[in-house]
Subunit: 344 residues, 2 copies
Amino acid sequence: MKNKKRTTIYDIAKKLNIAASSVSRALNNSDQVNEATKKLIVKTAAELNYKRNTLASNLRKGQSKTIGVVVPFINQNFFSNVIAGIEEASYQKGYNLIICQSNELQSKEIKCVNTLINQHVDCIVISISADSSDHKHLQNVLDNGIQLIQFDRVADELETLKVINDNEQASLEAVSHLVEQGYKRIALLEGPQNLQIFRQRKAGYLNALKKYGMPVLNELIVENAWTKELGAKGTRKLLNLAQPPDAIFASTSDFSALGVLEVATAMGIKVPSELGICGYSNEAFTEITSPSITTIDQFSVYMGKTVANLYFQEMENKEETAVVPKIISIKPKLIVRSSTKKGG
Amino acid sequence: MKNKKRTTIYDIAKKLNIAASSVSRALNNSDQVNEATKKLIVKTAAELNYKRNTLASNLRKGQSKTIGVVVPFINQNFFSNVIAGIEEASYQKGYNLIICQSNELQSKEIKCVNTLINQHVDCIVISISADSSDHKHLQNVLDNGIQLIQFDRVADELETLKVINDNEQASLEAVSHLVEQGYKRIALLEGPQNLQIFRQRKAGYLNALKKYGMPVLNELIVENAWTKELGAKGTRKLLNLAQPPDAIFASTSDFSALGVLEVATAMGIKVPSELGICGYSNEAFTEITSPSITTIDQFSVYMGKTVANLYFQEMENKEETAVVPKIISIKPKLIVRSSTKKGG
DNA sequence: TTGTAAGCGTTATCAA
DNA sequence: TTGATAACGCTTACAA
């Protein structure tokens, strides 16, 4: 089975006694070929079960019609949604996707990127891993003439196309909402500060406090609480303070917020009356917890489509003077649910 | 940026005044090349920022070290987990993944498969779409000398490698569990019967009833209830029967089970005392609903790894006589939670 | 409209 | 151990 030889354009050419170039032209639907022979060629190709060898075609044309995607984990809701969005838009344009996961490890991320460069992908789409420090490998992508698009978690010092969420604004709105509901001591569960997105979310939190003239209390800010377990741990610490918070903004994720909710429930603290909770990401489960969790929707599938379309636009304009915006910011949406409805 | 010419082995050869073939050999770490020159070549390659053109290499070698994956939706938990598993195992072997989604449409599935054939992938891994009827396109994969592995949703009449769940056994256990908890009228929410997995789950349900000498009541079997909405709709119908069921096995998915739970809650029916609910898939949310939902874990990441490793084993044995099992069945695990704990 | 031939960047074969 | 050369299957000037 493995060694079956495939039909090539030469086989078709030989059978019809014409030149391979004509076959190629016909199969590419060129208009420089007689309609009748074109039909004949297409028919024969089908009969012989011909399949174009994209490898050869791409090699010759110097492009692969392939987009490489690198994400920390394929099976995390946000990323799988973004990928689905990229796939949808790419498929329409006849592009393929090669997907890699970095497992949040810079070392693996580098290998993934190199593989994609070797594969001659036309574009690399990446959301950088949590432990990434330097970005030589990304610079390398550019040096190899490959378009680079960063999304969500971006290295801001690198001048590439970017599609991001307005994390700061979203966080500002979330915390403002908490304030307006009457919460007075609002805690923050923050993520690794080497990632821009988490710095931005913290900035939004601080801005909101400032806006309402509320003090920043360091004891209410918990570092590195971006899993359910770490969220729960941070919450236990917070709720055992002499003056515990009356609201927690789990800026890292809904998983973290879930950790908060579970600890609060276990401690007999009522949500939202005694403790308000706001998460981030609009994971499916936030709708069905008791109470349901207020969170922020990032329009992840749309984000994926935006990434892909940004690439296609950039391609179309590549030799024109038209200026394409380098950074697209998507405004996330605050979704208010029961976990923060204190004020009614 | 786009037109930057990449370094080729000829550039390296020219610079060092040696033949390209030697460069190729050195870069492939062949032992037929002088250690000293090998080192020199590798060093020069790094200096010139050489990246192998995998396209050319694959074309020449007649293999792509790429596995194509076709799933209904990338962003469904089960599939994204399987993909993550495939990725992990493939990465270790130096294989790449090209991912497509069929959107449950046979028409798109066919296009995806053809694209993958054109891409000369070495192996196609597929879980067929819900509306798939015939399988010519899959036969075509085999005819093109490409290894085909089906997983989860398989076309049984096609003799390929398969990795499946023992759906029948799992369903049997689930329904048996319901019976043993004291439920007397157990309803079934079934999925599209053109998919083998749903036929198997139904068979497991019927077997369980038979095992306990319970009658099969057609009014308790609801067709095509495989989304949350359809599950909810089916549940309303069931609970409004003159003799409503006291347990519902949502064999299609946890989403369906969630629909059941929401309707029951809305109607003031107590779970599990008045109604037992069992889902399928062990989605993350089943753990955090009130009450938590009994379900069946399919070991999806493990399934993905199994798929990839099956391919690699098959490759290694391809010219040996060793017989590799053609079908690997993974035994799912019943996870008992609050929604069915009637008997205590 | 069709054919000829070169070339994409590798690797494999053969010879030196 | 190294070099020259053909070939993988396709596309594209250029010529006919």
